[in-house]
């Protein structure tokens, strides 16, 4: 449970401007940021981009009883088994996928940072108690944990975000705690404590900002994982299911049975997932390298 994790190097975090500079020089990170930017734009302006609402079915008029026509001028990505425009659904799908990514990571961060900071700041008994709890959570493979939570909460968008978020908590908490312990030993924190600054100030002003960078990197990568795990839950029948809010994972999972007759149904949402996840991974890697240039 306590396999050694490379200690985050505190000194090398460098100045924020340096980090940004290195980030901007990192080609991969910029490609990643561009991908995510495009997808965010697509999500925001989805109603303007798509030819029709993603839930519009027209299986009689368009499908002629056969599943499913591929790309055409009118329907770039073809039609799905209910005659819905796949392009529209993929574009709208960006909304849910990004929402899941952001909200679930935010949930994970909220609890993870609180726990990790408490453990790292107070140390001692508080630390032991929190870390034992974290160890127990970490003993569960995270996807299994998420499945368990969805089973408990029932399927649905919020439930999925909560499940994935909570399964991220121990990861963030442990990471932050480790880096807080490192920061705690630095002279400036020691002196801040000796000077008798209020605990809250020491924690929020002196420790957290210096300890948070590995967590930020992990959070970026966790967004990638969140999208993949949502897809996995969808494949297992635990996905979101509102046709007005199509979600890539569910789309992919529902159409895998048409892999033979209509491969485009699986292809487009699949590619959308891969590209988005790739974007987050690229950005996360770039961030890590920018924060800890030794690794590049």
């Amino acid at each position: 449970m306590t396999a050694p994790v490379p200690a985050p190097s505190v000194e090398s975090s460098g100045r924020r401007s340096d980090v940004l500079l290195r980030l901007r020089r990192n080609r991969g990170a910029m490609v990643g940021a561009a991908i995510i930017g495009l997808i965010v734009l697509a999500a925001i302006f989805a109603p303007l981009i798509v030819p029709e609402t993603p839930s519009k079915t027209a299986y009689l008029s368009r499908l002629d009883g056969r599943c499913c026509p591929g790309s055409s001028a009118a329907h770039w990505f073809g039609l799905d088994e209910l005659g819905r425009d796949v392009f529209s659904r993929v574009v709208f799908g960006a909304r849910v996928s990004l929402l899941v990514a952001v909200v679930s990571v935010a949930i994970g961060l909220a609890f993870g940072v609180a726990l990790g900071a408490a453990a790292g700041y107070f140390g001692g008994a508080v630390d032991s108690a929190i870390m034992r709890f974290i160890d127990i959570m970490l003993a569960f493979p995270s996807f299994l944990f998420a499945i368990g939570l969805v089973a408990l909460l029932g399927p649905g968008l919020w439930q999925i975000m909560i499940a994935i978020g909570v399964s991220n908590v121990p990861i963030f908490a442990r990471l932050l705690r480790g880096s807080m312990l490192g920061v705690r030993q630095t002279p400036y924190v020691a002196s801040a404590r000796v000077l008798g600054l209020p605990a809250r100030r020491v924690l929020l002003v002196h420790m957290l900002p210096n300890a948070i960078s590995p967590v930020i990197v992990a959070a970026t990568l966790a967004m990638a994982t969140a999208i993949i795990e949502t897809a996995g839950l969808g494949f297992l029948g635990l996905g979101t299911a509102d046709p007005a809010r199509p979600e890539w994972g569910v789309m992919l999972a529902n159409t895998t049975r048409y892999l033979q007759t209509a491969p485009h149904l699986a292809f487009f949402p699949g590619i959308a997932i891969v590209i988005t996840v790739l974007g987050f991974n690229l950005l996360g890697d770039g961030l890590r390298e920018a924060i800890d240039p030794k690794l590049s």
């Binding site: 449970m1 306590t2 396999a3 050694p4 994790v5 490379p6 991969g28 034992r132 709890f133 160890d135 127990i136 003993a139 569960f140 493979p141 995270s142 996807f143 299994l144 499945i147 368990g148 089973a151 408990l152 029932g154 990638a224 993949i228 897809a231 996995g232 494949f235 297992l236 029948g237 994972g249 992919l252 999972a253 895998t256 892999l259 033979q260 699986a266 699949g270 997932i273 891969v274 590209i275 996840v277 790739l278 991974n281 690229l282 890697d285 030794k294 690794l295």
Partner: protein
């Protein structure tokens, strides 16, 4: 060394107790219940009550937990409500299946990932490095089941090179002593079965192993690059040893330290990835079993199965810690 292992083992005990409590509380908190799941669409309140009474589900939850743990202590994990088989019997069948798959996947990931990472590091910032980087990123970004379906469609259905489901051609006779079919085939000196079992392993193992492969390749690359800049590597070269020996004795062992950690962490991911992979390839292992159990609220399976997976996960991490200590004297001789 022994003390180190024992200490780690002791540390795992409270974790396991916590896990068992958590799993038990979770199963009891699930909506619906086994009675409902068992009775299906025609469950009447009376029938549900009868089943619950029969199954002891109406007793206080702490009593149920106490009873459960005292039975676990005697090695009795209960029975599956749906298959009516003992959990321990099911485990004997299914656990080897999943382990065989996970080990093959990990073997694939390590055997391909480490050399790939080393090659990428050797040619850092050249074409081959960029290709392997993009490739591994794609590998990480691909949902496991999507990859599994694509592999199956291409190599089993379209090309017909490899089987699409199961662990062994059902027409082949093989005595199953261990239920590790590869092992059983070797024990039984059954060459045909061995080849067939290996063929069945290829697609699921590749599908499951791709993510760890990508991660291992990347970590190896980073670690090798980092170690190559270490002073002791320069020292080794200054001694007049060939690059090959320097790499083998100095660079690789040090670079493997972070890789070892990653292998341990990835085991957990493999176990969860197996849930998806096993479904696609109709692999009769733990993954499909536990997922079915969630749908059917098979408490005994959920408790026993998840507890078992977690124990395995804890043990694997223990082994990784020990392996780490074996490689790194700084931990071993602290």
């Amino acid at each position: 060394m022994l003390r180190f292992a024992l200490k780690r083992l002791l540390l795992a005990v409270p974790v396991l107790i916590g896990v068992s409590l958590l799993v038990f509380a979770w199963t009891r908190a699930l909506p619906g219940g086994p009675a409902q799941a068992l009775l299906g669409e025609r469950a009447t309140p009376a029938a549900v009550a009868a089943v619950e009474r029969n199954y002891g589900l109406d007793r206080p939850i702490l009593v149920q937990y106490g009873k459960y743990m005292s039975r676990v202590a005697t090695g009795d994990l209960g029975r599956s409500i749906t298959s009516r088989r003992a959990i321990t019997t099911e485990l004997k069948d299914r656990f080897p299946a999943t382990v065989e798959l996970a080990l093959s996947a990990m073997f694939f990931a390590v055997a391909a990932g480490i050399p790939l990472g080393v090659v990428a590091a050797k040619h850092a910032r050249k074409a081959i490095d960029h290709i392997s980087l993009v490739g591994s990123l794609l590998g990480i970004s691909m949902p496991v089941f999507f990859l599994a379906l694509i592999l199956k469609w291409a190599f089993a259905v379209k090309l017909g090179w490899l089987p699409s489901i199961g662990r062994l051609d059902v027409k082949l006779k093989l005595d199953r002593h261990t239920n590790f079919l590869v092992l059983d085939a070797i024990i039984g000196r059954n060459g045909t079965a061995l080849v067939d079992a290996l063929k069945h392993l290829v697609l699921p193992a590749v599908a499951l192993g791709t993510i760890p492969l990508a991660i291992i390749a990347r970590i190896t690359r980073t670690a090798v690059l980092e170690v190559m800049t270490e002073d002791f590597v320069r020292t080794a070269r200054a001694k007049g040893m060939s690059q090959r020996i320097v790499n083998r004795r100095h660079v690789l062992p040090n670079a493997l330290l972070p890789v070892t950690t990653v292998i341990g962490l990835q085991t957990g991911l493999l176990l969860s990835g197996a849930i998806l992979t096993e479904t696609v390839f109709a692999w009769g292992g733990m993954g499909t079993w536990i997922f079915d159990a969630v749908a059917k609220r098979d408490y005994a399976v959920l408790q026993g199965g998840i507890l078992f997976i977690v124990i395995v996960f804890v043990i694997v991490n223990l082994l990784v810690d020990i392996g780490y200590a074996l490689i790194d004297p700084r931990i071993r001789l602290r």
